[in-house]
Structure formats: C-alpha cells, structure tokens
Amino acid sequence: MSQMTNLPANIVEEPSDRNTRRAFLAAAGVAGLAYTAALAYPIYRYLASPSEMALSAAAVTEVTLKDAQKLPAGSVLMFKFGPSPAMLIHHQDGRWISMTAVCTHLGCTVQYEPQADRIHCACHGGVYNPYTGANVSGPPPRPLKLFKVAVNETGVEVSRA
C-alpha cells in the first residue's frame, strides 16, 4: 500500500471500490442462493412425500395374509408387499410359492397362468418359471425374487428370503 500513496487519489480508490463491489455482489449471491434453497427445500420435501412414504413401506420384511391358507390349489392371490405387488401361488402339487409380481423388464405386473403353468407378462411377452421365478423366455433380464412362505391355520406369512 505504501507504494500506492504516491499515486493520484482517483487511481488509489479504484481497486478498493472494485473490491467492495465484488464483495457485495458475492455476499448478495450467497444470500440469494441461501434464500432460494430455503424456498426450494420445503417444496422438494412436499413433492417427495409419497416416495418417502413408499421407501418406509419398502422397509417391510413380513406380510401376514389372513385366511390365505384357504386358497384353492392351482390359484393365485395378489397382494401388496410393501409398496409393490406380489403374488402367492398355491400350486396343484400343494406347494406354496410367493414372489414379487413386478416384471424385471419394464415393471409391468405379471400374471400366473395355471393352464400353461407359467408366469406371463402381457406387456412384452416375458415368461417366468412359476416355481423358481427364473426368467424363461422373452425380454426379462433377471428372475423374479422369491419370498419365504409359512402356512399355518390362521393364514399365510410371507417374508423376505
């Protein structure tokens, strides 16, 4: 600074003017950003509420299906496991199988076809094995996830494997 004192006054003032101006603009910019964030955060949380609720629903590890033990052999019961559809199949041979009903291709809900003894997705023709959930033909890239099934006299308990 000692060098600058010899310069004419108008030149000495200029850099500090520019500095205060820059500092002011920076502070205003930060305040503006903070303000925008304070407005945007509640709106984001408000709009995200259903997906947050679905997330907490997805934390479900067990579902009890009351009276589902009465499901006749060769038929299916659709139910919700957390936020997404799932199915409980009572096979002709008496086996109980439960798996997710969301196609691994593009997320359509699949259906159990007892006559053909297969699980079929009508959207793009994907086919799964109704005992193992394995993707048999069509576009699905992965098998359907199986759940654990426990049948008792009051209902059926389905839990994450």
């Binding site: 509640p42 709106i43 949380r45 408000y46 995200a48 509420s49 947050e52």
Partner: protein, 363 residues
C-alpha cells in the same frame, strides 16, 4: 458481448424483436412525487397472485375434490412434509392479495387515476377485485371443514334473497338444496378452471392498459409545469424497487404462514350446530355486517324487505363506485371532484366501521 453471444442475440432479436422491447423499457419512466409509494401496490397484488398460482398448483398435487375433500386436506396438512406450510402460504397470500388490491384500488381512487383515458383500467381492476373475492369464497369451501361449510351456507343465502330467481340461482351454485360434496366439486371446478380462465386474460388486459397509458399522477402533480415534474427510469430503477417490494411481501408472507399456520377444523357435519364465534373472513366482514345491520332495522315481518333493501343498497353503492370515472371526469378540481373525494372517504369509513363492528360483536 463476445461475437458469439452477439450472433445468438441477433438471431433471436431478428425473430422476436428483443431490441424493440429493450428500447421500450429504456424510454419508459415512472413519475416521482410524494405519493409514489402507492405505485407499488398493483405490483404487490400481481406478485401475490403469482404466489397463489404457484402454491395452488402445489396443493392441486394432493387435493381431491368431492367426498374425499376433507381427508385430502387433512393429509396435506398433517401427513405430507411441509404441506401445512404450502396450504398456509396459499391461504395467507389470498388474504394479503385482497388487502393489497384494496390498497391499490383506494390509492387509484384518491389519486383520481380513473380519469380519462384510464376508465377501462378502473373497470377491469374492479372486475379483477370481484373475481378475486369469488376466488376467496370458492376456495374457502374446498377443505370442507365446519367453518367452510357454514361460511358457504350463509354466503349462498345472500343470492337466494333475490326475488324470483334467487332460490334457483343458489341451488344451481350449491348443486342442490344444501351444501354437500356436489357443492365442493363444482366450487373446485370454478376455483381452479373457470376463474383462472377468466382472470388471466382480464389481468393481461389490465396490465396492457397500464403499459399503454403509463402511471397516472395525482391532480396536485398534474397541475405542475412539466419541468418541475420528476421521474425515474422504469428499467432498472423502478423494477429494482418493485422487486424489493416483492421480496418484502414474500418475507411477510413466509413469516405469517409459518408463525400462524392456517388451521383445519373438524370435518363438516350437517347435523352439528354452528360453532361459537363463527364469522366471515375479514374481507367479507363489511358486507356481511351491513346486511346484518339492515336486518336489525327491518326485523320480524319486514325481514325479507330488509334483506332485499340491503342487497339493493349494496348494489347501488357498487354501481356508483364503478361509474365514478364517468361522473368525475374533469381535470379541474371542481365540485364533482370534491364530491367523488367525499364519496371515497365515506366508502372507506363505512368499510372500516362495519368491519370493526363486525369483529366487536362476534359472540
């Protein structure tokens, strides 16, 4: 500007005429005088209307009209994150918008800004105020709680006092003889489709007129020779101050909405008695109280006469108010100008007095 941005600007300018707009903004000025403060209230009203649109769309994301109306508002208020804040901001900005429109209207009135060539500005502004109050009335029912149920019930009694056609009209608005889920469904259609569809073009017309004729100055400034009048550039000076006003309004709104969240009453029940201390929103308090006072004057056998007389008197007052630009036309401050001034003072006094009496006598 670098050559590239200049090229992009020129490309857009050739197609949209940006430089004409910029030239227009450069030449536009706003008068500066002791009453300039009142110029901001139209802008504040506009800002609060934009807040209404924005928060309204957010509420629309979860609101369900009809039989589920109350349940969906309960969800918005207590289940969705910050739903209470969005709803509160919508309700508070509605109140603030009506308030700032009223301030805007009275400032225009007392500055005599309705005179030639601004008659259409006055009329379209009054129509916007009318629509804003219908917005308020119809929106008030949508939560379907106790208060909204009785407010709508009482409010629709007023048109039903009109001889011959009144009862039919009220039934048509209600969708039946009593306020029900049919009412909330049609009020919803009115509130989010019909009213915006009418309000927006009218608002565009109003703003276009403001641009076309510029800001009016009060008669005392108009009397000055041109060299003594001061003005500031519209852009950026006035716009900057306008935006500062918007920011202040937003802060006041945020404060009110978060410190005094809008409540949700019990679900409506047609068999429950009206809750104690029930009263209309502040902007309906004055007409409500005027009708009530006239009801005291004409009681018993003459009650219907009183109601009809009240509606007639009220309508007459509004018609006179609307027609003021055609009565008080001359620039010279003659007898008519003074009469209009006193009429304005009387209106302010009547509105304030009846509002105060209304709140005073809440039981």
């Amino acid at each position: 500007m670098t050559t590239k941005t200049a090229a992009i600007y020129n490309w857009v300018d050739e197609r949209l005429g940006l430089s004409e707009l910029a030239a227009f903004a450069r030449h536009k000025t706003v008068p500066v005088h002791s009453q300039s403060f009142w110029y901001y209230w139209g802008g504040i009203s506009l800002f609060l209307f934009l807040v209404q649109c924005f928060t309204g769309v957010l509420l629309l994301v979860y609101y369900r009209p009809g039989a589920e109306a109350y349940e969906s508002v309960r969800q918005i208020t207590f289940v969705m994150h910050f739903g209470w804040l969005i709803r509160s901001a919508h309700a508070w900005s509605a109140s603030l918008m009506i308030f700032s429109i009223l301030v805007h209207m009275f400032s225009v009135y007392f500055m005599k800004a309705y005179r030639k060539p601004r008659e259409f500005g006055w009329l379209s502004g009054m129509a916007l105020l009318g629509l804003a109050s219908v917005f308020g009335f119809s929106g008030y029912l949508l939560p379907m709680d106790e208060l909204s149920y009785f407010a709508t019930k009482v409010g629709l009694q007023i048109p039903s006092a009109i001889p011959w056609i009144g009862a039919g009209m009220a039934n048509m608005l209600r969708g039946g003889p009593d306020v029900s889920e049919f009412t909330v469904q049609r009020f919803f259609a009115l509130h989010v489709v019909v009213l915006p569809a009418v309000f927006l073009p009218l608002l565009g017309f109003h703003l276009w007129l403001v641009q076309r004729h510029g800001n009016a100055v009060p008669p005392c400034v108009e009397a000055l020779p041109p060299e003594q009048r001061k003005s500031m550039p519209f852009f950026p000076n006035f716009v900057r101050k306008d935006l500062a006003m918007w920011l202040i309004s937003l802060n006041i709104l945020a404060l009110l909405a978060s410190v005094f969240p809008w409540s949700l009453g019990k679900p409506f029940d047609p068999l429950a008695p009206a809750p104690m201390g029930i009263h209309p929103e502040w902007y309906f308090m004055s007409p409500f109280e005027m009708l009530k006072l006239l009801g005291f004057v004409f009681s018993g056998k003459f009650a219907t006469v009183g109601e009809i007389a009240g509606i007639l008197l009220f309508t007459l007052g509004i018609v006179l108010w609307l027609l003021i630009p055609f009565y008080d036309r001359s620039k010279e401050s003659g007898q008519r100008a003074r009469a209009a001034h006193y009429f304005g003072l009387l209106a302010v006094f009547a509105l304030l007095a009846t509002t105060i009496i209304g709140y005073w006598t809440i039981r």
